[in-house]
Amino acid sequence: MTTTTVNGRVESLPDDPDALLIDIVRDQLKLTGTKLVCGAGVCGACTVLVDGAPVASCLMPAQAAAGKAVTTVEGIGAVRLHPVQKAFMAHDALQCGFCTPGFIVEATAFCDSWRATRGAAVPSREEIGAALSGHLCRCGAYDSIFRAVADACAGRFDGDNVTAPRIEARDKVTGAAKYTVDINHDGQLEGLILRSREAHARITALDLAAARALAGVTAVSLLGDDKIVRYVGEPIAAVAAPDRKSALAALVAIKLTSERLPAVVGLDAGRKDDAPVVFDKASRKRAGNVSEAAGGPAPWKQNIRGPTAVFSTRAKKARNWVDEARQANNALLVEATFRTATQQHACLEPHAAVARFDGDRLTLHASTQQVFHLKEQIAKRYKLDHDKVRVIAEHVGGGFGSKASLGTETIAAIELAREAKAPVRVAYDRQEELSVAGYRPAAELKVALLPSEQGGLKALSVTAHADTGAATNSTIAGLARLIYPAEAKDLSDFDVISNLPPGAAFRGPGGPPMAFAVEQAIDEAALRLNVDPIALRKRWDPDPNRQRLYDWASGLEIWRNRKPSQNGRYRRGIGMATGYWLYLWQPNVKVEVAVKGGRIVASTATQDIGTGTRSVLADTIAREFDLEPSDIDVRIGDSSLPEGPGSGGSRVTASVMPPTLQAVRKLKAAMLEQATRKPAPGSNAPWRELIARSPDIAVVETRGEDGKNTAPGVRSPLREVGLIGMVFGWMMRRFSNIAVGAGVPSSVQVIEVEVDTWLGHVRVLNVHTGIAVGKIAAPALARSQACGAVIQGLGYALYEARELDPKTGDVLTAGMEDYRIPGIADTPEIDVHFDEAGFDHVLGNSVGIGEASTVPTSAAVANAIHNAIGVRLTEIPIRPDRIVEALKGRDAA
């Protein structure tokens, strides 16, 4: 038997040649700080040191570690935190934390070797970017990672003091934070899902007997009652077995016969008259949902659902005016067709659930954006008492909208656990994560924009066809109603359904594609009107939040020095764009603030998907009591706590802050009333003294309505568009438990790029992002979110696209090397400007930042590229192939 040393302890290695080092670390030694993400050596989440060198443990055969010394993240900070760990904590160089252990391991090795050879010199961004090029962070924490690594190398974190703006940061930099995939109950089984190989088929026989006959194997059917599968990867059955290898063998043993049905794949084929129909009338309710809220009624013929055109106003007028302008060759009429790609959420923690029954009580650990609502959905689906279901998500490795429903991983885990009478874990592999776990649908947008002769906006027409797969309810064009008022708007949304996996909500659903098209059209109009693009937006967009952001943007030096397009190989350009999202909050959200055993404890059944909810609560309460955030215990991630909001629609902060503040006020009053001894006169910490001596008191408060008095121009954007908006708002509240508040969270971005016209490469040099989401509750974390939103937007603009086989719909980009998310070296300098006004009517004055901050990025990049090379790129991602194609035959550099 061979051995290796892991974190200083001798451990035995199995003889199995297929055992990998990560299996030993995670499964045998339960060192779950090391994460399995891509399984292909691309993302670096599994990085460990072997004899001091960082390696990908997901690829390294376990036997190759024989006789060597392995150090995992747990071994790095075991005695004393490494300066890199302290720097990551202090700079908030992390969000969801799932990639963090890998970054920490690599960065400590880099930092140690840098300091050994270079002393106190500070590594450049380029040097850090190259050293960490084997790591990916989907939240986009790169900007802070640069600063953390540089400061650690410079010796600025050698002392013992460390402060972290994110209260769970220590757990994330040491690998102690437990995610759903890390849960390991005694006797836990591993569940796998059998998925369709056909794009469209009727399953004529599903025989689980041979699989069930295998030792320790449980199998359940996941087929719908119509027995039809509508995309490659649709779940058919699930198996559970003591380990992954036997579960795989059980999958192979399942006997399946099917009758292939004609299939149709994608936006163009799906629109053809003779395309096979994906959902007949009876099965339409099986379609998924690509938005954050439930959809309204819409026409639905064959594979085309739409138009949804409720947000049009004087649509016919708009069409007529555009037609007339076209016939008159009106030079001001801007018309173009834009195409956006399918963007995968690519959460680093896969969709995962661990179900355990204790008698009739179900405990479910889930990687979810909605612990409370998921509990309710499970109770309803399985007819269980609400108090017998508990959903736990202590840490969630990214969600971005994809983990906001009761998904197959949860259904399979519950049904397998019930059948097997044993705990079952179902965790998607990377291929599943990048194919069937949801995506932002690709879209085709036809835009016509007509300025009036007086320089106003006369007509705007947007027709969007979204590539929603086996799902519906895309709203892209409709979002163009709530910005740039015009004399007439013709806005139509269509879902194009085909035999592809269902899309899902993704960070500002519909927002980025709308902005990519409309913001380029506005830019083009500014060119034709010979008006500065910011000045034109200031003229056409009266929203008070954005008016202030336009003033900020037009004052930026980079904008004032903007030049027309250039010649030569490398060409620089500057572009800008605007984005917004609705201010949403969730009614009935409850927060308990209590004093227990002399400490303040805040509890609500929400979750932190990397957005910083714990710190928003801790910072807010600490400010009220004049304490440190670390003095506050925050309990979230557990459905048994008071009803909390889902992490979607940027609604968490705006839902929890008001009841928290109300509860604090009442708690203060109760404490003062019950205090047997008042604080010493002149005490500089009266609340600290009171809390320490207070009997236990708990106050639960519910999110109330916002104040009616708003600043001039601040209204509900839905109210502003009249009756239909009010109906829409009522429906959101009634069917989706989401309220639309007054005021519009907004973002204006100014971006500088450099285009290499020979190699088609676009380098983003600088991003200035101005954000108006009210008062910033947790500044360092809000900055992290703002930077991450830009980085995800850059991925959308430049790199990310799901690629398919055009016939079968097989997702070809089902690994992290082919689905390309931004890396640290692709990260520009990011300047974040917060305009904190605009939400005085909200208790606490804060609304969410997550979505508004990512909407304008792709459009600003495209406008910057146009400014650089004089060509408008109408299709994203703007990859090298598209740049060289666009420049082909033009002036050679």
Binding site: P17, D18, L20, G39, A40, G41, V42, G44, T47, A53, P54, V55, A56, C58, L59, M60, P61, A64, E106, G129, A131, S133, G134, L192, I193, L194, R195, A247, L248, L251, E432, W758, L759, G760, H761, R763, L798, E803, L804, D805, P806, K807, D810, L812, T813, A814, G815, E817, D818, R820, G823, A825, D826, P877, P880, D881, R882, V884, E885, K888
Partner: protein
């Protein structure tokens, strides 16, 4: 989870560091026996002949090649290629021999549920399907570009390969001409690479390597090239250009090299010599852009060497 339904590879496979094989084992694509290679003095490390020629053992780590100062002096194109491939963690593990003998990165090949020529299938699904990252020189039935950056750089250096059975193989002898779509190399079953021999460097030669990708790092090349040149008296003397990412095997760009040799080392010559880089190309419907990148890359790298 997917179950491999296409023909998996059930023949025994050698394993050096496993950076390619482990992923194929996990996906079920490789399911035969695994034979671990163990290093001997002859198969690991860099040795030097009296004439200044280097010999690199097949089990030498890519990172060791990338950081070897003497190698960087004598064969800068080799060390630059080693520095430019994969990620730091992979370079610490992966070996030179493994890099040469790795299997295709084609997204159809890597999907265990799709049949293809390299998995015993009868046709290439990428050809009629989605071949965005595939060849622009259509030299055989399979349209996947060869994945080995080191093979491309070694081709520029006229390196010779020694296996446990044969010696003196050129890179073309090792990888073929692209007409065999079923294989990624021409090693016989059970044959393994032992070492690589590089000819002594030319007096005064310079060399550079570069890949065109969409992001900054850690991406398989859309196009990559390695250029060696001797410039004396302001004139290109000897020029060797190899390119990868564009054909089923690495290619020598002889037309561009010929257009440079004997000409003055200036921007005009270089611009003129870049265009013939694409001569003989047969792009697929989605890969025409690779020719633009190829000529851009030749111009870029030769300029950096010469100017």
């Amino acid at each position: 989870m997917s179950v491999a339904t296409a023909d998996a590879i059930s023949a025994p496979e050698y394993r050096a560091a496993g950076t390619d094989l482990s992923e194929r084992r996990r996906s079920g694509l490789s399911c035969g026996a695994v034979i671990d290679l163990t290093a001997s003095p002859d198969t690991i490390g860099i040795a030097w002949g009296a004439d200044g020629a280097a010999r690199i053992g097949a089990l030498t780590a890519i990172a060791a090649i990338a950081s070897d100062a003497r190698l960087a002096q004598a064969y800068p194109g080799i060390t630059a290629a080693a520095q430019g491939l994969a990620t730091p963690q992979i370079r610490h593990m992966a070996t030179l021999g493994g890099n040469l003998a790795q299997r295709s990165r084609c997204w159809y090949f890597r999907n265990p549920q799709i049949a293809c020529l390299k998995k015993g299938g009868t046709d290439c699904p990428a050809r009629a399907g989605n071949h965005l990252y595939h060849v622009a020189f259509d030299l055989g039935p399979c349209v996947a570009p060869h994945p080995s950056t080191m093979a491309m750089a070694l081709l520029a250096y006229d390196a010779k390969v020694t296996t446990d059975r044969r010696s003196g193989l050129s890179i073309t002898d090792l990888l073929g001409d692209g007409s065999n779509g079923a294989a990624d190399n021409l090693l016989a079953p059970g044959e393994r690479i032992e070492r690589i021999e590089l000819p002594a460097p030319l007096a005064g030669e310079r060399a550079l390597y570069k890949r065109a990708i969409s992001r900054s790092y850690a991406e398989w090349p859309l196009v990559e090239i390695c250029v060696r040149a001797v410039i004396s008296g302001g004139t290109f003397q000897q020029v060797h250009i190899a390119a990868g990412g564009i054909a089923p095997v690495p290619l020598r760009l002889t037309a561009s090299a010929a257009a440079l040799e004997g000409k003055p080392a200036n921007a005009a010559t270089i611009a003129q010599a870049a265009a013939p880089a694409a001569s003989g190309a047969k792009p697929l419907p989605m890969t025409g852009y690779k020719l633009e990148l190829l000529t851009g890359l030749v111009r870029d790298v030769v300029e950096r060497i010469a100017l």
